[in-house]
């Protein structure tokens, strides 16, 4: 057996080792910021402060008592870290930008730098954590007793001291230790590299110890399989039938909230984080650490249940199993592991809480009651802060001790921890709202947290005193004043639930409902809105906005404030940098709003955002920094953003319009050139017959020896040419009239088939002359279209004569079909001529275009198709070139049908 004296001496020695580690770690980190102490591995290990003696001892006990439930405590955090990208990354970024020092600081800073919310959160945290600290005290005490108290011989100097005395000793020792290395100085960002180094070391020790015990147990138990099968033989099975009930969900949710909101977790994960990218490693490494921790818990519990006598405390299996096997060394190692987990938790938790207490309760009080800044104090605030923190550490540990004292009769460890988790979980909805929901307001959040806390105190905290106070147990069974619907463990008649699930359900539901409804009903203040924007949009904006509009404070006043909080050296350095940046002498520095903003964040790192704000407000502008002004500023920014967006839109529109104008211009220019071309073409067309008319008439005019037949021939040429000229001019007039729509156009229902027949009749002579065959395809029934009958006939004649004119094949054929298709009258006129090249497909409808092969001797002016198209267009139809059934071209006229005749 190990003697108690020896065990205690070992524990003290271990603490001294930690102290040395912390001391050198601190110096090393200060001397070299890039040392391995800043590595992601150390960061991850420090996060594992989550695994306290609750894990080390309590989880084994929990596994022995209620099966798999212990796992939820690790699965919840696993989920949070697996999703680090969403929550933790955001939290870390916000905290770095705003120099957040704790959960209370985060919430108070987000909700309008409210000191009241800070106080509320701090008080709840201090009360809520007390059971958790008591758990550690209880674990250490029981472990010392388990390892040494089992024999009279081993009692040593412990003889005669009961567990209360022991716990008191442990608490006092812890307080001393924490004060010694947690509150040596006030840091800009509240980072404690030394402590983190020690915590990381302890993380390794506790993991090694638990794994050692686990391996030992598996070894002497003959392997996993043997352990489980032996247990089954003895009738011990892991009862999983009721594992996945409401309690499973509750503990999962609570642990998710706890890994973020527990003061010490927030401290190590967010505040002590020196590099955002460390989260990448922690995202998988921390869950892996927890998995390693829990792998052996079930075998230890099962094996313990199998071999240990009835009534042995399952919480202590990790210790008593090696002891029972006579492995004193291993037992001592296990003890040190459990001790490690307890000390690291107590140290960090009380440091984190003491920062909250001093920044949110003591500082605001001091600020409120101190009048104008007193002279000659130098490091005043800094020293005051340290004293406040030391006092709060003592207070926190005493609270833990008292809780332990009052509830020492309850035996299991895990339920105590869950009480704390439920209290801390009350911050979670507010925290999520703080960083994701712009509309969450201070009043709603305060009310929600308070309501959740009250229900927690009633349903969860109070019942834990059941065993010591008859009044409480009376209350539990019949409710206050006999009101049975207010019984703490069966609120509103909700009986039959597990007490924890019951408490968590009511407190968190009330919390969330009040938070949501309250935020929707209340309007946040100006400062809240500014902060909300800065927090919610943290990844959109670089640095937080400054909150002081006009810097009417002198540099002297500011320096005085900074010196009181930060100490002379750092304050001076800060001011010098600013002076150098703005290029003036430090003595005549004119503080800009940006500088004041930076100073505020710097101060916030030491005394919390709310206090820093109050402190600077006192100096800047005589304390009346108008919120309206800030509001206005925020609005102006908003307006500026909107305005610039508007400008952007307008300029895009302008660009579009400009492009359209350009297009229109190009079109116009093209039309213009087309007109020029048309004119030149017309003059050319007119000029050819005119020239021949003129020259022939000149010959005739000359008195000479022309005989009658020659004379006759010349006159008839002149006649022909003038006819051609007239025809040309007629066509031009016709076309321009059609284009302008001025001609007297008769619009009446017309028998289209009749028009087609008439056109064929007219062309008959032409066809015969050329020896062209007409192939009659299918014809449509009698169809009426709206338009001018003569004009329609003209179109058909035109198309047919074109087919004739340009066809110089040996067996010329024109094929004419007409049909009714989906309400349209369609006529196809196809030929087997040379066809029209694809590239000319568009040109053929242009004026004066003549088929290339046809040359200029076909007698047309090249206006036929243009006129036909105009006519068809006037009749709301289309004329187009389509791929035809014959080798040549195929023109298709499509006209809308009006009712049948």
């Amino acid at each position: 057996m190990l003697s108690a004296d020896f065990v205690i001496a070992t524990a003290i020695g271990y603490v001294c080792l930690l102290f040395v580690l912390a001391y050198f770690g601190d110096r090393r980190a200060r001397a070299n910021p890039r040392s391995w102490l800043n590595s992601p591995a150390v960061y991850t290990l420090s996060i594992s402060v989550y695994c306290t003696s609750w894990t080390f001892y309590g989880a084994v006990g929990n596994a022995a008592r209620s099966g798999l439930e212990f796992l939820t405590i690790y699965l919840g955090p696993t989920l949070v870290f697996v999703g680090w990208y969403f929550l933790l990354r955001r939290l870390v970024r916000i905290s770095h930008l705003h120099r957040i020092t704790s959960v209370a600081d985060l919430l108070s800073s987000r909700f309008g730098k409210s000191s009241r919310l800070g106080v509320l959160v701090t008080c709840i945290a201090v009360v809520g954590i007390a059971p958790y600290i008591a758990l550690q005290l209880k674990a250490v005490t029981s472990s010392i007793q388990a390892i040494a108290g089992s024999s009279e011989f081993g009692q040593g100097s412990l003889a005669g001291i009961d567990d209360v005395g022991l716990a008191f000793g442990v608490a006092a020792g812890m307080a001393l230790f924490t004060i010694l290395f947690g509150t040596r100085h006030v840091d800009a960002k509240e980072q404690h590299h030394g402590v983190v180094a020690a915590i990381a070391f302890e993380a390794v020790v506790k993991l090694a110890a638990l794994v050692a015990v686990g391996v030992f147990v598996v070894f002497i138990g003959g392997g996993f399989e043997a352990i489980f099968s032996r247990a089954t033989e003895q009738g011990i099975v892991v009862d999983t039938t009721s594992s996945f009930d409401s309690r499973w969900i509750t503990t999962l949710v609570l642990s998710i909230a706890a890994i973020v909101c527990l003061p010490r977790q927030f401290q190590v994960t967010v505040v002590e984080n020196s590099d955002e990218n460390h989260l990448r490693v922690a995202g998988w490494a921390f869950p892996a650490y927890m998995m390693l921790m829990s792998v052996f818990i079930l075998p230890i519990a099962i094996y313990g249940l199998t071999v240990m006598p009835q009534g042995a405390n399952p919480d202590m299996f990790a210790l008593t199993l090696p002891l029972a096997a006579g492995q004193n060394g291993l037992a001592l190692f296990a003890f040190i592991g459990g001790f490690s987990s307890a000390t690291s938790m107590i140290i960090l938790e009380s440091i984190a809480l003491s920062i909250m207490v001093s920044n949110h309760i003591i500082m605001p009080l001091v600020l409120r009651f101190s009048t104008a800044p007193q002279g000659g104090e130098g490091q005043g605030v800094s020293r005051l802060l340290l004293t406040a923190r030391r006092l709060s550490i003592v207070l926190i540990l005493s609270l833990g001790f008292f809780y332990f004292f009052f509830t020492r009769d309850s035996d299991a460890l895990a339920p105590i921890g869950l009480i704390s988790f439920t209290a801390i979980a009350q911050f979670f909805p507010a925290l999520l709202a703080a960083i994701f929901w712009r509309d969450a307001s201070l009043k709603a959040v305060s009310a929600a947290i308070l309501a959740g806390f009250v229900i927690w105190a009633w349903c969860c905290f109070l019942p834990s005193f059941q065993s010591v106070s008859p009044a409480v147990s009376q209350l539990l069974t019949s409710g206050p004043w006999g009101l049975s619907w207010l019984r703490p463990e069966a609120m509103f008649g909700l009986t039959g639930w597990d007490p924890l699930a019951h408490a968590a359900f009511w407190s968190l539901s009330a919390n969330v409902v009040i938070l949501t409804l309250g935020s929707l009903l209340t309007t946040p203040s100006a400062l809240e809105r500014i902060q909300a924007q800065a927090f919610v949009d943290v990844f959109r904006r670089g640095t937080p906005q400054q909150n002081f509009v006009r810097g009417s404070a002198t540099a002297n006043d500011l320096f005085f404030v900074a010196e009181r909080v930060l100490g002379e050296r750092r304050a001076a350095a800060l001011f010098e940098v600013e002076a150098r940046e703005s290029g003036v002498d430090p003595a005549v520095l004119d503080p800009t709003p940006e500088f004041i903003g930076r100073l505020e964040r710097e101060l916030a790192g030491s005394i919390g955002a709310a206090s820093a704000h109050v402190m600077l407000s006192k100096v800047v502008a005589g304390g009346d920094v108008s919120l309206e002004e800030m509001m206005q500023m925020a609005d102006e920014t908003q307006h500026a953003i909107e305005y610039s967006q508007q400008l952007e839109r307008t300029s895009a529109e302008l660009r579009l319009t400009a492009r359209k104008l350009e297009e229109a211009n190009a079109q116009l220019r093209e039309l213009d050139s087309q007109k020029d071309e048309f004119l030149s073409q017309v003059s050319h067309e007119v000029r050819t017959p005119m020239t021949s008319i003129r020259s022939f008439s000149e010959i005739l005019l000359e008195p000479g020896e022309l005989d009658q037949s020659q004379r006759q021939r010349f006159v008839s040429t002149i006649h022909q040419e003038s006819l051609r000229l007239t025809k040309l001019l007629d066509e031009i007039l016709d076309l321009s009239a059609l284009e302008r729509g001025e001609r007297n156009w008769q619009s009446a229902p017309v028998d289209a088939e009749a028009a087609l027949d008439r056109a064929l009749l007219v062309c008959d002579a032409l066809l015969r002359q050329k020896g062209m065959r007409v192939e009659h395809g299918k014809r449509a029934p009698l169809t009426m279209v709206e338009g001018d009958a003569d004009r329609l006939c003209q179109v058909f004649i035109n198309l047919i004569s074109n087919a004739v004119k340009y066809n110089n094949g040996s067996d010329p054929v024109v094929r004419i079909t007409s049909a009714l298709r989906t309400g349209s009258y369609v006529v196809d006129i196809a030929d087997n001529g040379p066809g029209i090249a694809k590239s000319d497909g568009k040109l053929i409808f242009e004026k004066f275009w003549r088929g290339v092969s046809g040359g200029g001797d076909q007698g047309g002016a090249g206006l036929g198709l243009a006129i036909s198209r105009q006519i068809v267009a006037r009749m709301n139809g289309t004329l187009e070139l389509v791929p035809g059934p014959l080798s040549g071209a195929c023109f298709r006229v499509r006209l809308p049908v009006v009712g049948r005749a």
Binding site: T78, L79, S229, F244
Partner: protein, 63 residues
């Protein structure tokens, strides 16, 4: 990454976790224990793999 987190949450919650809750032993260990640790391990591996593929962000992008 969001999918991974959501899947993890779903797999740990009653309806699905319950499916694997039978009195069957795999390698001498109850099936549900193997299942929970298996999912856990998969989550850790998945996160490690995903994180490695994620670009380190210095400017801060929100996606």
């Amino acid at each position: 990454m969001f999918l991974l987190t959501a899947a993890g949450l779903l797999l740990f919650l009653p309806p699905i976790a319950y499916i694997f809750n039978h009195r069957i032993a795999l390698f001498g260990v109850p099936q549900i224990v193997v299942y929970l640790f298996g999912v856990w391990f998969a989550l850790i591996g998945g996160t490690a793999a995903l994180t490695a593929r994620l670009e380190p962000d210095s400017a801060g992008d929100d996606s």
